[in-house]
Amino acid sequence: MSEKTYKPGNYPDLPPPPGTVGVYGWIKQNLFSSISNSLLTIISVVLLYYLIDGIIGWFFLNAVFDAESKIACRKINDGACWAVITRRVGQFVYGFYPEAERWRIDITFLTMFIAFAPLLYPDIPKRKWLLYFSLFYPFFAFVLIMGGYFGLQKIEYSLFGGFMLTVILGVCGIVCSLPLGILLALGRQSNLTVVRTLSVCFIEFMRGVPLITLLFVASSMLNYFLPPGTNFSILVRVIIMFTFFSAAYIAEVIRGGIQAIPKGQYEAADALGMNYWQKTRFITLPQALKISIPGIVNTFIGLYKDTTLVVVIGLLDPLGIGRAALADTKWNGLSTETYLFVALFFFVSCFAMSRYSLWLENKLNTDKK
């Protein structure tokens, strides 16, 4: 064995001992570091194989993607019967909105991203012009969806359903509850007794009542107090309730943010001679909102998922459409497929929201690290 000699200072970095790096090294270190670990690894792999084999088989390989009915599905193969989704995807997305008018929903949905872009991404080019569009967008969306103006066919609210209903309820609730929540949070901190008392009462009442109770109030009670024939659609009533409910939570989240701001900030603002609104706009809110982002998004995601509660008052959100599909004798019994599909939809939208909030947090993070 020859030992190579080096001059002092010229000794090269030796490669790591064999078996500790690369794929082999990783496997050895993490999976087969001892006899018991090796055994566990082998057992897990075998279990995983059977599990994944079964899952992939059920989901894809043995699944039927289009058929007349559940019975026809079972005749073809014994995996998942996704035909209930493919045959009814229109219903899951648009509810009972007339097929010929569905382009209106598509346009509203696509333009929603344009309207939201300047609000969500401050660096977007031509932001000022886009903001005008955002301001105008609610009226545009309302007219397009409900119809009745400019020769558009009027659509009854009872035809609304599916993901479209979830998005309408969720987006309206979220968009309306944030400003209301901010106002309530400021109101609660106010020095004016009347404003403070009213805010506290509103927040405590809304937080103290279960959402489902508010929905029943919206669907049943309000009708008794309105004159007959008032066309105050259940959709609007439900959106108002959702807004109030989540505004109360948002208010508390933001109050937490406001209280986290060091007192020195206010004193500095006072010393500069700022009035209340200047102080709020330039000192309080920018800092308070930044701190509260995770809490706010948390509330929004909660609100978004809570929209499924409308099934109890007979509105057909995706869950309701799914149940109705299961009541069709053709598809009776395919509950796993239906519920998985609805779950996937909610996961995608909620995950997108939480990713956005993470991005925003990082962007606004001005703390020195």
């Binding site: 009972f96 007959p228 109890v312 008052i313 007979g314 599909a325």
Partner: protein
């Protein structure tokens, strides 16, 4: 508090006064559409098809009333309601009819100020068992474990029935129908009990429906029927006679196929003539209906039998109590004269 109550009272008073003044029929005609409150989804009774059109036994009745009053069975707006919201929706005027497998009881009829206009489906609590259990009657269920929804009338009915027949059983309490299906399929309980129509629907959701059976014993009375608001007798009469016309059509052998032909000729049975508008039917003008009202109903929706067979036969529901009186059932139709 007192002022609030007073205010609520006045508002309610004004509301009811308003609803009495305008006749429901005029409202429907002015709108050109009938508002019908239906189930959010119940196999055989109300469910949307792949195209999004509501179909089912209860939905057919909405269509029949639309055909009678507007001449077109398709002119219906469907509003879905859950068990909890259905009565308030009807009371608040969100629909003219509640056609949602609603059990006719004293309190609902009297206390909630509603009018049950008849029974279109006699239901009752039944028992489902796997055929492999080898039981032919509920009397043979001694010692069985029974899946039962807690807090429902079915729980009480079950206890009363088994106690009355001296049968021991182990209740397996569950919360929802879906949970019951899973437990029953997994064999956690030998018997599942709920309304018979629900049992048939549950059975059809299984992969091998023929391995299960519904026992012949029905242990409670659940007469289901359409409901209208108190206060408009003309409307209640219209709705109830639409139901009777559908049943009378079955009795007289009038179907959607032959109704046009029978309406065109002079029949020996004068009741057919009166029903189909050939001979005058005294008082029809008071209902505000045109003479061809029943022809519209039968040609566009069908008679009771056709509707029943179309929607409930696929669930393997038999006519049983829902047959006409002459076939041993409970449907006995007052004469059309």
């Amino acid at each position: 508090m007192k002022t609030k109550m007073l205010l609520a009272g006045i508002t309610a008073g004004v509301m009811f006064a308003g609803s009495v003044l305008a006749s429901t029929l005029d409202d429907v005609r002015a709108r050109g559409k009938l508002n019908c409150i239906i189930n959010t989804g119940l196999a055989g009774f109300a469910a949307p098809d792949d195209k999004g059109n509501w179909t089912g036994f209860d939905v057919d009745f909405c269509k029949a009333v639309a055909a009678a009053t507007l001449g077109d069975a398709s002119k219906v707006n469907y509003t879905t309601a859950t068990g909890k919201t259905r009565f308030t929706k009807l009371a608040a005027g969100e629909g003219e009819i509640l056609s949602r497998n609603t059990t006719w009881t004293f309190s609902r009829d009297v206390d909630l100020s509603q009018t049950f206009i008849g029974v279109n489906y006699y239901d009752g609590q039944g028992f489902m068992v796997p055929k492999s259990l080898g039981v032919k009657s509920a009397k043979g269920l001694d010692g069985a474990s029974v899946c039962i929804q807690t807090g429902t009338t079915t729980e009480l009915n079950l206890a009363e029935y088994f106690k009355g027949n001296n049968i021991k059983y182990n209740p397996v309490p569950i919360e929802t129908n879906a949970e019951a299906q899973e437990l029953y399929k997994a064999g956690r309980c030998d018997v599942y009990t709920t309304d018979a129509s629900g049992l048939y629907a549950t059975m059809m959701s299984f992969d091998n429906p023929s391995d299960h059976m519904v026992l012949p014993e029905i242990v409670s009375k659940e007469p289901l029927g359409p409901v209208v608001r108190h206060g408009d007798d003309q409307w209640a009469d219209i709705v109830s006679w639409v139901l009777r016309a559908m049943m009378a059509a079955e009795e007289k052998g009038i179907t959607s196929k032959n109704v046009k032909e029978l309406a065109a000729k002079d029949n020996k049975d004068k009741e057919i003539n009166r029903l189909l508008g050939k001979d005058p039917l005294q008082g029809l003008s008071k209902l505000g209906l045109s003479p061809d009202w029943a022809v519209n109903v039968i040609s566009q929706v069908g008679n009771y039998q056709e509707s029943f067979e179309k929607h409930l036969f696929p669930l393997t529901i038999k006519r049983g109590m829902n047959a006409l009186y002459r076939d041993g059932g409970l449907h006995y139709i007052p004469p059309i004269k």
